[in-house]
Amino acid sequence: MNDATQLDETYHFILSVFVERGQAPHFTEIASKFAIPVEEGKRRLHELMAARLPNWLFPETDLIASFAPFNNLPTQYRVSVEGEQRWFAQCGLESLAMTWMFPGKRVTVNAPCLDCGEPLSVELLDGVIQRAEPRDIAFYVDLPIRKWYGNLPFA
């Protein structure tokens, strides 16, 4: 099996676990899934996390911190699917991409506005904004997109 196929498999498994339970798998679970030694599961995790995708580990650990569009550490972007809150989004922009993780299901993003602390809410279905409260919700990033990969957690 070539490396590209392994990366695809590992990526798909991690994302699928997030969808199902709202939390990342440990590398031992990667090993179990593919019936490989635990150290090989760890190697696969690190290889994927080095693939220049918007995903990262907790510093100096083998634990997934963030795996777009999900976050393994609670953020202010709480995500509900069909009314059940179990997921957290990596950031405000990725919270919108959550809709692609749950095809055919109603996804709601709830968060506080960082300026005033008042709530905002967006409801999505298959990529279409069904409802936004308030209606003028805006996204903001202070870093040009070309610089995002310099330090993704702080972009």
Binding site: A4, L7, P69, V109, Y140, V141, R146
Partner: protein
């Protein structure tokens, strides 16, 4: 990379950086940015190996939505 109740709230935010107004998008435009195959296809079983193929559509969408803003230009410059 945050959401605010409006663009006025963005400008009032204590961490807003003057000169980065181009970093603001409406909710509808932000959704359009996140709706190309680069984000739609993540659940695909060959997502990582097909990622390079999704770049042109993502770059084009960014430029279309932002009116060719250099702030959102991923092309080598």
């Amino acid at each position: 990379m945050n959401l605010f109740r409006s663009k006025e709230h963005v400008k009032r935010w204590s961490q807003f950086k003057p000169g980065t107004e181009a970093g603001m998008l409406s909710l509808a435009d932000a959704m359009r940015v996140m709706s190309t195959p680069r984000h739609r296809n993540r659940l695909g079983t060959n997502y990582v190996s097909t990622l390079p193929e999704t770049v042109p559509a993502f770059v084009a969408r960014l430029l279309e939505v932002t009116g060719n803003s250099p702030f959102w230009d991923l092309r080598p410059g």
